[in-house]
Symmetry: none
Subunit: 213 residues, 4 copies
């Protein structure tokens, strides 16, 4: 039922020359996707921009979906790397400080890659079928869990898994929503601080009798 995009290549480039070509095609696709309306990004234009024949593109990618998916997968990989690096730097903090650190980190990364995030979440029709994207929620939960192991230990949720999930969804969604669609009359830095604050409240509140039982 749930189709998954095929990321495999028709032919794996063996020679250095071919590698360069494939790279050029992916770069071209990436640039065009970031520039033109999605439906204007045609395979012909990608090939043209990459400076290769359309036939070459189809030697390595079985169809249009495949190359777009590949590009998106790279984007996600890059962004996750950045997030990972940043999170790794935020250990050894108090709960509130950690919340702010994580939120700031995500905010910064999402903001810098605003265009790509929008493409993935709101433009490319099958983006959610791309494995790297479909796994994002889980990946992010795992990453922050690892990075914040010390914090997690201090938390004491009745259902840690559910709590982590909701916490991450709220964090991620509010950040992305703010970056992409924040009403202009609200000051972004303030929104950012508020998000962090709310996240902290949730974590702190955990110590209250309301939840942990």
């Amino acid at each position: 039922m749930i189709r998954t995009i095929d990321l495999s290549m028709k032919k794996v480039p063996r020679q250095r020359r071919a590698e360069v070509t494939v790279e050029a095609m992916i770069d071209a696709a990436s640039e065009l996707l970031s520039t033109l309306p999605y439906d204007s990004v045609t395979t012909n234009r990608i090939a043209e921009r990459a400076g290769v024949g359309i036939g070459s593109l189809y030697q390595y990618f079985p169809n249009k979906e495949a190359i777009v998916a590949r590009v998106v997968a790279y984007w996600v990989q890059d962004m996750l790397e950045e997030v990972g690096n940043a999170l790794a730097a935020s250990t050894q903090l108090s709960l509130a400080e950690a919340a702010l650190a994580i939120v700031s980190t995500l905010f910064e990364v999402v903001d810098r890659h605003r265009v790509k995030v929008r493409l993935i979440l709101e433009v490319i029709p099958f983006a959610l079928q791309i494995p790297a994207v479909a796994n994002l929620p889980r990946t992010l939960v795992m990453m922050s869990a690892q990075a914040q192991a010390s914090i997690r230990d201090r938390l004491n949720f009745a259902r840690p898994e559910v709590a982590s999930y909701v916490l991450m969804v709220m964090t991620r969604a509010s950040i992305i929503e703010t970056v992409l669609h924040c009403p202009p009359h609200l000051a972004r830095p303030e929104v950012e601080r508020t998000i962090a604050d709310f996240i902290a409240r949730i974590m702190v509140g955990n110590t209250s009798p309301l939840v942990a039982a």
Copy 2:
């Protein structure tokens, strides 16, 4: 830069007969959008399903976008109405109870309209340019504010506007994300309760010195 979809009709139906025709076209479009892959919803098919000639469709709508936008606008209107009704019924509750009530309400409505929500947020490429959709965040904030006036008064955020915005974004986003993409190994009711709980924590936490001061 930010294009807005033209919802105006080429010609306003004057006769009763014409009104019925337009309605049939919108119903047909609505059904097809809910049924087929987006790219399979062609204007010709809409006309056919509505039992009118393709020419008639273009007498009332300037292009494909227009009729799709119109359909989406109706969807949004309907859903907002339901949300409004439900919220109105949840006054006079404690903070925690109110949080749970609101979350449950939204959950239920979003879940029932799952297909349409997904179409709006993840499928129809220009949905976010449709005024009714673009205004959704503000509208929801206002609606819940009105409905929960008593609660809002008991809250005491430093920046009420920012707080409301973030609160609503977190609520909305986590609900929608859960409805559309909740990992199967998490029990939905539990997720729902957790969301409500977290929202309550944020509101309750407000009384703590951590924030308001």
Copy 3:
């Protein structure tokens, strides 16, 4: 396992205007098939020659195969009509005379439609999957049987069905083969007479003890 070509039209022409268009397309296809190498007969060229847009072609035919199949079906229909008429005129003859009449008839028709016969039997790759073509053997047997009812009664084959089949295959194949590929050093009229003679021998021979038992 045995695929059959779909001859149905995507849309049946309702208006007179549409009928004319479809006719033009079929005529154009027929002419091009009789003129160009098969692979050069493209749908675009057919539309161009018919003086219509390529889109119009695809309104009525789901694909290239369909229009080619339609053309072939018409060809077969026309030829069968001619054969039928000619056979009807050859009743009331002696066995030998009837054999000659039938062979002559078929020879004449096949020869006049030489180009089309070649296209059907040797060029169009899927011709044998077209119902009208696939049924040809049976159809021909039936037609000649009807026309030559009086003769058939005088024959007395042990297995009439098998005998008819073989008789017709031999007749048809030798005629077509001769028309299409007769070695130039053999005089065609003589070949024709020989074929008729051999067919007669088979029928006459039937009276010999060799077969009928």
Copy 4:
């Protein structure tokens, strides 16, 4: 007007290694042709299956037609050899016995090579332009004439050449047609016997005054 396929090789393999390579390419082509739909047999696939680079293929064959033609030529050569051997074993028989022997022989060979026969006669578009195929009728006539020299002498056709030609066409065509397209409701062995019987009638009939005179 009548184009003939170029069977010549661009370069004649001089080294033993090259010979092996060419053989591999021909074998690969033969297997693919016998296995896949004709349009799926691409030069690239042939090279791949042969375990050589596509470039190598074009070192020895000027184009796709050439290699296909070469394959077909080999097929025909093989089949003719089998026919020859079989016919050689059927001398010294009575007319009727000889007819049955020849027909049986051809039937068996054609049936065993059914797939290749179909490819040659109904699938490969230019097969009839391949010399080996174009000469088949003459070749078969000559072969059976040689093999059945004693019989031929006993026959006494007015125009031996024409008679042989027609006799062979009828035999060949009815056999092939039966193997490839015999209606399922007819028992093949019976059809086979009937063919042989009819051929015998023709030959025997020769002694009757109807013809020879």
